[in-house]
């Protein structure tokens, strides 16, 4: 007695169309089709579907691959994107890190507050980058006064005159334009007889009427405020009284119309 043969199933028929029928089912299915010509003709139509569709799409399959789909092209584009992401992430980390380091999280500042925080972080980063420079602390020196004023005024799109801090013992060294995520900012650098340096950082922003905010991180002190849609940050390594005096003088200069 032989094993009973499983009955024909629809899956057998589909597999027959696709030539995926297991070897041991072949004879059974062929016998069934021989006995059922209507089913056989239906399956023949299914086979014709496969070949007909494949033929209709053959031209697409044989078409040369567009250069834009080359994997090396895609890899290169991806590398560029990643580099951009990393640079942005790094700058955000810098800003976030400085903001957090300065312990402002609990101050309950408004949106203006967060803008001022960003300006301060940028100012501190610029301060740390450029005040340690021996040969190139500034890009345009104070003795090219007219050029400095014109350059910074042009890039910040408003008249900028460096405030005179000489009554407090600070000489203008010069300045530079700096990139930010929004619009160019400017850094003015001053020094005293001991070689101590401070910076006045100016960043155009959509805010004004913000009072002095003082903060300290390590030996770096900052005072930030905003007026005339400009955030101003005084940064230096000096006692609180000294930096407040500088900030007050800068603010008075702005109020007197010499911007700042």
């Amino acid at each position: 007695m032989t094993d009973p043969i499983p009955p024909i199933g629809d899956d057998d028929l589909q597999a027959w169309v696709d030539r995926r029928l297991p070897q041991d089912r072949h004879a059974t299915v062929e016998a069934y089709l021989a006995a059922h010509p209507d089913v056989a003709s239906r399956l023949a139509a299914y086979v014709a579907q496969n070949t007909g569709l494949s033929d209709a799409l053959r031209a697409k399959f044989e078409e040369p691959i567009p250069a834009g789909l080359r994997i090396d092209t895609l890899l290169a584009r991806r590398r560029n994107r990643m580099a951009g992401h990393l640079a942005r992430a790094a700058s955000l980390l810098l800003v976030a890190g400085l903001g957090a380091a300065m312990g402002w999280a609990g101050h309950g500042w408004t949106d203006n507050g967060s803008q001022l925080r960003v300006a301060t972080a940028s100012a501190v980063a610029a301060y740390e980058t450029f005040t340690v420079e021996v040969r190139h602390p500034v890009e345009v020196r104070a003795d090219e006064g007219a050029h400095l004023v014109q350059w910074i005024s042009n890039r910040l799109e408003r008249p900028i005159t460096p405030p005179d801090l000489s009554p407090l013992g600070w000489r203008l060294m010069g300045g530079r334009v700096l990139p930010t995520a929004h619009a160019p900012a400017a850094q003015l650098m001053y020094d005293d007889d001991h070689g101590t340096r401070l910076t006045v950082y100016l960043q155009p922003m959509g805010i004004d009427g913000e009072e002095f905010r003082y903060t300290q991180q390590g030996d770096i002190r900052t005072v930030v405020w905003a007026e005339r849609r400009l955030a101003l940050v005084v940064t230096g390594k000096m006692p609180r009284d000294a930096i407040m005096a500088v900030a007050t003088r800068v603010r008075d200069a702005v109020a007197a119309g010499a911007t700042p």
């Binding site: 629809d10 023949a44 299914y46 579907q49 569709l53 399959f61 789909l69």
Partner: protein
């Protein structure tokens, strides 16, 4: 050429064919293939293994197509069988071209689920188990869907274009 390119590039013609058959729009199809390849590259370390590469890529493409369709439904419909789309799918020989055009037109009338299963099984020649993975359905569903799709397609070709495909006419 990088190793990833050596493995991926041989798959591109079939991916383009599948994408074109689904969209019947050469530009949309290549956009879909590009998105698929970019995603494959970004998830390269997550792939199941080189043996399953083909099914993995088709699954990515298929899911992106479905996602795109969902987004598209909010936009006004337009005729996907424009002239350009037809040109690109037509073989050179005139008669074959005509049959191919008729075939694709009828094919376009099928539901998307039916189109996908017919393409993956009949044109791409994927094993049924791989098709199940690509479509994210059980094997039994693939088989019953395949059966219904074939019958549906046969009726479309039979009923409306008997002169073009006499060999598909129902024999009683």
């Amino acid at each position: 050429m990088s190793r990833i390119a050596t493995l991926l590039e041989p798959q591109i013609p079939a991916l383009r064919r599948y994408a074109f058959a689904l969209t019947r729009d050469p530009t949309a199809a290549d956009d879909l293939v590009q998105d698929t390849l970019e995603r494959a590259i970004s998830r390269w370390v997550l792939r199941a293994g080189d043996a399953e590469l083909r099914a993995w890529l088709f699954a990515i493409l298929h899911n992106m197509f479905i996602d795109g369709q969902r987004a598209q439904r909010r936009r006004p419909l337009h005729d996907t069988l424009d002239d350009e789309a037809n040109q690109a799918g037509i073989p050179a020989a005139q008669e074959t071209a005509l049959i191919g055009r008729e075939m694709l037109e009828q094919f376009g009338a099928l539901s998307q689920e039916h189109q996908a299963v017919l393409l993956l099984v009949g044109v791409e020649g994927l094993p049924y188990a791989s098709v199940a993975r690509v479509l994210g359905v059980p094997l039994g569903t693939v088989m019953s869907r395949l059966s219904r799709a074939r019958e549906q397609f046969r009726r479309l070709l039979d009923g409306e274009r008997p002169a073009v495909r006499p060999d598909l006419r129902r024999v009683k």
